[in-house]
């Protein structure tokens, strides 16, 4: 697992209070991990802070699963 992937998972476990084993690449924040729309906004903000990136709203909308977050951050973080 890449460094980025493990950091992303750690943030999700902490913010959503879910078990690490639930945080699979396919897991959807809202459908599988119990997040509501505000939780999702908070997650995106945490990713921005942790990885020092700015995620535009139109791209944030496409980040719905753990795997999508990891892919986006691997491609865009500095």
């Amino acid at each position: 697992m890449s460094d980025i992937a493990s950091k992303v998972k750690k943030i999700i476990v902490e913010k959503l209070g879910v078990d690490e084993t639930e945080v699979t690449a396919e897991a959807s924040f809202t459908n599988d991990l119990g997040a509501d729309s505000l939780d999702t906004v908070e997650l995106i903000m945490e990713f921005e802070k942790e990885f020092n990136v700015s995620i535009p709203d139109d791209q944030a909308e496409n980040i719905q699963t753990v795997g999508q977050a990891i892919t986006y951050l691997e491609e865009n973080s500095k």
């Binding site: 959503l16 209070g17 505000l38 906004v41 908070e42 903000m45 921005e48 802070k49 700015s54």
Partner: protein, 415 residues
């Protein structure tokens, strides 16, 4: 129409002198000070470096972490003590229609620390607004009653009253009125506050409202004492379950006492200073006695607002003398803020719990740190100095006065 009777069937408390109702009463009856140096932030540069904080409170013992982090501390306090009071009352899906249960809470300020944290974060950033999506729902004062109703499924009236240090008494009076009008069957009421933060201490310091007795914090809250120099900030809260009497009786609930009157008034004088003759306090107590339809002589104990400020304390006593006449020298009086500090919007709630427990235990909690009674106060006034006093108690009156000139008084009677 005939008004329904309203009784107290559950209590909760999270205070600087005890994290349960039982611990709170132990603290009150033993004259314990809840004051100590501030641990919630580094207060080195502040004029006041002490407060009455809640001790040993681990929120995750009561609320899952992912829920707790969406609540300011004042809401966490509120949710925990509401749980205590509801459990104590025995209310459940089986014995009450939850659509007829309200949650009416008091908080003078709301999520001050949340506001402070978010603004500091913004100010330290590069100007890009990066506010947490839970900032507003955590901060707003009404979030506490919302969280309590969500947790328990109570679908009756739900809001928070904001009248500074009278907030909880106003909340309890509103709950009382809805139940006696027959609009709801029960209501979770009370109040909570958590302002031991830089903005809270710094703000009250700027008003010159806080004691600055940094060399001896435990004696800083000293209502009616000659050497008092301001109030001590407290935190925590109290919860009471109010229920329509026949409903409580029918389900065999433990009934602590009856809430027989609520009174209120406004000073219409100054935004922070109390009326010099205590006229607002007088009107509030008079209104409560009329509402309760009792004579002043029937009151056995007055839990005063008595914050330990130079101006406020004697004015309340003046108002008591004016309203109660000779009975002012027979009634027991004490300020439990000498032990808990001043919980602001939560004050009326913890002091209601204190008054109800006084009725329950037939004992008047003391005014501690009362070494030399201020000479402007008539020595015949019984301020219950330093030691709790066993006494036959039937009626207890509890006062709250807030910045803005808001005054509110409750009267409880044994049943």
């Amino acid at each position: 129409m005939t008004l329904k009777r309203v009784v107290v069937t559950g209590l909760g408390a999270l205070t600087p002198i005890g994290n349960t109702v039982e611990e709170f009463w132990n603290g009150l009856s033993n004259g314990v000070s809840g004051c100590d140096f501030i641990t919630r932030f580094d207060a080195t540069n502040f004029k006041t470096r002490f407060a009455c904080e809640v001790k040993n409170f681990e929120v995750t013992d009561f609320i899952p972490r992912q829920d707790a982090r969406k609540m300011d501390l004042f809401t966490q306090f509120g949710v925990v003590i509401a749980d205590q009071a509801i459990a104590d009352s025995g209310l459940s899906d089986e014995n009450i229609n939850k659509e007829k249960v309200g949650v009416i809470w008091g908080s003078g300020i709301g999520g001050l620390k949340t506001f402070e944290d978010e603004m500091i974060g913004f100010a330290q950033g590069n100007g890009t607004p990066r506010f947490n999506p839970f900032f507003i729902p955590k901060m707003i004062a009404d979030s506490v009653s919302g969280q309590i109703s969500i947790k328990h499924g109570f679908r009756g009236p739900n809001y928070v009253t904001v009248s500074a240090c009278s907030s909880a008494n106003n909340a309890i009076i509103d709950a009382f009125n809805y139940i006696r009008l027959g609009r709801i069957v029960a209501c979770i009421s009370g109040g909570s506050e958590a302002t031991v933060a830089q903005a809270g201490v710094g703000g009250f310091n700027a008003l010159k409202a806080l004691s600055e007795r940094n060399d001896d914090p435990k004696t800083a809250s000293r209502p009616y004492d000659r050497d008092r120099d301001g109030f001590v900030l407290g935190e925590g809260g109290g919860a009471i379950v109010l229920e329509e009497y026949e409903h409580a009786k029918a389900r065999g609930a433990k009934i602590y006492c009856e809430l027989i009157g609520g009174g209120f008034s406004s000073d219409a004088y100054h935004i922070t200073a109390p009326h010099p003759e205590g006229y607002g306090a007088y009107l509030s107590m008079k209104d409560a006695l009329e509402d309760a339809q009792i004579a002043p002589e029937e009151v056995d104990y007055i839990n005063t607002h008595g914050t330990s400020t130079p101006l406020g304390d004697p004015q309340e006593i003046k108002a008591i003398e004016q309203l109660f006449g000779d009975h002012a020298y027979k009634v027991s009086i004490s300020s439990t803020k000498s032990m808990t500090g001043h919980l602001l919007g939560g004050a009326g709630a913890v002091e209601s719990v204190a008054g109800i427990l006084a009725l329950e235990h037939q004992m008047v909690p003391p005014t501690i740190n009362l070494d030399n009674i201020d000479e402007v106060i008539d020595p015949r006034i019984d301020l219950t100095p330093n030691v709790a006093k066993a006494k036959k108690l039937n009626v207890v009156l509890s006062n709250c006065f807030g910045f803005g000139g808001h005054n509110a008084t409750l009267i409880f009677r044994k049943i």
